[in-house]
Symmetry: C2
Subunit: 381 residues, 2 copies
């Protein structure tokens, strides 16, 4: 089989497209499938960008990023996590997608492998395959809050394995792990001579607790983050990756070639975004209100939530009481009552047929209507 | 050797950084090393973007691009080249860099290969290596206007070869080939069961002639283009690739995973940019004036130009009369008289020590000063 044939579509996009077609045909759809904030980019960022358009050069920045943004992020790491990260270790990428392309190009050789939590963010598997390497899906359960733990790393690590991935808060489960847990992961990777990769894109979107950065436990981890979620800046395509000192130079070589640089206007906007507090807190509180609403209502409908999600904007529910085919269930719910939710199949091969993911990046009134519709659907069937 | 160790730095960036350090230390530098327009983005595009920032959603577009931009490009292909290209075959990418990452991910398997003209755009080799495949540097000369021709394709094609690359106008030589020439290339690739990839990023920047698109000879070629050069929009990171019908679906799967989408604001800006004519013509005429000046002056200094460059903003000169080590020569010229030019080593292994590339993406007065300085340097040494 050729590599291209191993690259799976991002299934939620197909469901999204079907939902959009139904909408275009006049049907009311509630979008709980999308992993994208429903909030607009903060007005402070928009205004700054309008001014920058008139006043700044929009030519290429340095390949590794605008120095002012690297410095602002370094200061942000000090304020946010009380860690010292040298600006040159913070590499600015076109979204976190760019960050993953970059680090797997640098870390992996054909035939090598990376440990991933299953269920987990679907694109991870494909980034690794595109680098010519193999994703190893490690089934995770409520026992480890749906994350890899040190035992799983020891069990699944192969001689070919180069890294293990933590997505904290998790997509799709929203579960968060603490600093001691992360320390055991970093140590387990180090013992095997590999690297812990911590995807921290949902940091700042946590409720009642704060997610620690893997940089708080080691400088030898790789941390990926970006402006898409917490700052509601998806279409700006701006992310970053913090790498160990030894990887700065190889990353720079790859970045010069594959990106030239991240979008210039977005990089200036990122500097502004890091200065914001209150606008982010408004969004976080809205997500939390929606989360609490769904955590109260979904179990009444038969959706089982085994571990309380404390971060991101997702709820991963077991649907064993309702169906043994979550994909057909999701498509049927979409067609019958116009509620779009994502089947487990997008997130791996660990009991996908018994799970669905709800996104609450949708307004509370819409969510209330979705619960009404789901109730109607489940009563009728 | 690990793959990452095969990825060469983009050497011109190192020379650029040294030049910038000299400037920071107070030295006057004339930049003839950079392959980036010295013109700002047209004001019409800036104004539109300011308005779009206030009025448009800046969330993700479809993975393959904003439909309005795909449609505008389809109309542009009809107007510009009189070819019919269905909008869904035009995939919008983060710069042409993104386009090359995409097509090599889709076309290539580990151990396969691609034929490249040498001298040629340096990043091409690295994109192919990052896909796990091998770039085959085919030495090209003035005899084929520094392009691959059908004979070279027949000679260098291996069983593992999947594609051959045309960069028309060429970087670094600025030479242009006509439609009959392109036809022979497409046929040669087809006979070997492979694909012609035509890099058309310098289209519109031609002088006295027009460069034809490979789409005028076949729908089975891959054409890469973007807004960086002709529209002076480098930092916007916006490109596109036209692919044969059969590649649309595999490309879409890869795009969903590795980009999610190109920057949203840039895509709206692209729609506006395609409506411009006069602002582009002003830039083109300025480049042509500079080109004619350098073509008159450089030979007097001992720089030999074997084929007149008719496109892009580069002149590739033989320096055999001046040095047998173009890299030392370029660094010495930079340090002694503050003129930054690119040594041949960036463009391949075909007599790089006897060549340098001049970029004329620098104002005419600056170029006149550069010629004075070069004369001084060459008289003194």
């Amino acid at each position: 089989m050729r590599r291209i044939d191993t690259i799976e579509p991002f299934r939620v996009m197909e469901l999204l497209e079907a939902a959009q077609q139904l909408e275009a045909a006049g049907k009311s759809i509630i979008h709980m499938e999308i992993g994208e904030p429903d909030f607009p980019t903060p007005i402070e960022v928009i205004s700054q960008a309008q001014s920058d358009l008139a006043q700044r050069s929009l030519s290429y920045t340095a390949s590794t990023g605008l120095p002012a943004l690297q410095q602002a992020l370094s200061a942000w790491y000090k304020t946010e996590y009380d860690v010292d990260v040298a600006p040159h270790r913070i590499l600015i990428t076109p979204g976190t997608s760019g960050a993953f392309s970059l680090i797997y190009a640098v870390l992996l050789e054909a035939g090598e492998s990376v440990l991933l939590p299953d269920p987990g963010y679907p694109c991870q598997r494909n980034f690794i395959r595109l680098a010519g390497a193999d994703p190893i899906n490690v089934p995770v359960t409520a026992d480890s809050r749906y994350h890899l733990n040190a035992d799983l790393i020891d069990t699944y690590w192969r001689p070919s394995t180069q890294a293990a991935v933590l997505i904290n808060p998790s997509n799709p489960t929203g579960t968060v792990v603490d600093i001691n847990f992360i320390k055991t992961l970093a140590e387990a990777c180090e013992q095997h001579g590999g690297t812990l990769i911590s995807d921290e894109i949902y940091h700042g979107l946590t409720y009642g607790i704060k997610a620690p950065s893997a940089l708080q436990v080691s400088d030898d981890v790789i941390v990926v983050n970006g402006f898409s979620k917490r700052w509601a800046m998806t279409g700006w395509r701006l992310g970053w990756v913090v790498v160990p000192e030894a990887l700065v130079e190889p990353c720079r070589r790859v970045m010069q070639n594959i990106f030239i640089a991240a979008p210039t206007l977005s990089q200036y906007a990122g500097v502004k975004a890091l200065q914001l507090n209150e606008p982010l807190e408004v969004m976080r509180k809205a997500y939390d209100e929606r989360r609490r609403y769904l955590l109260a209502e979904l179990p009444k409908l038969g959706f089982e939530i085994t571990v309380e999600p404390e971060g991101a904007f997702y709820i991963y529910a077991n649907v064993a009481k309702l169906t043994n085919d979550s994909t057909s269930f999701c498509w049927d719910v979409l067609k019958q009552v116009g509620v779009a939710i994502t089947p487990g199949a997008d997130f791996g091969v660990n009991q996908p047929h018994l799970h669905v993911r709800f996104s609450y990046a949708t307004g509370l009134q819409q969510l209330k209507e979705a619960v009404r519709r789901l109730k109607k659907y489940l009563t009728a069937t």
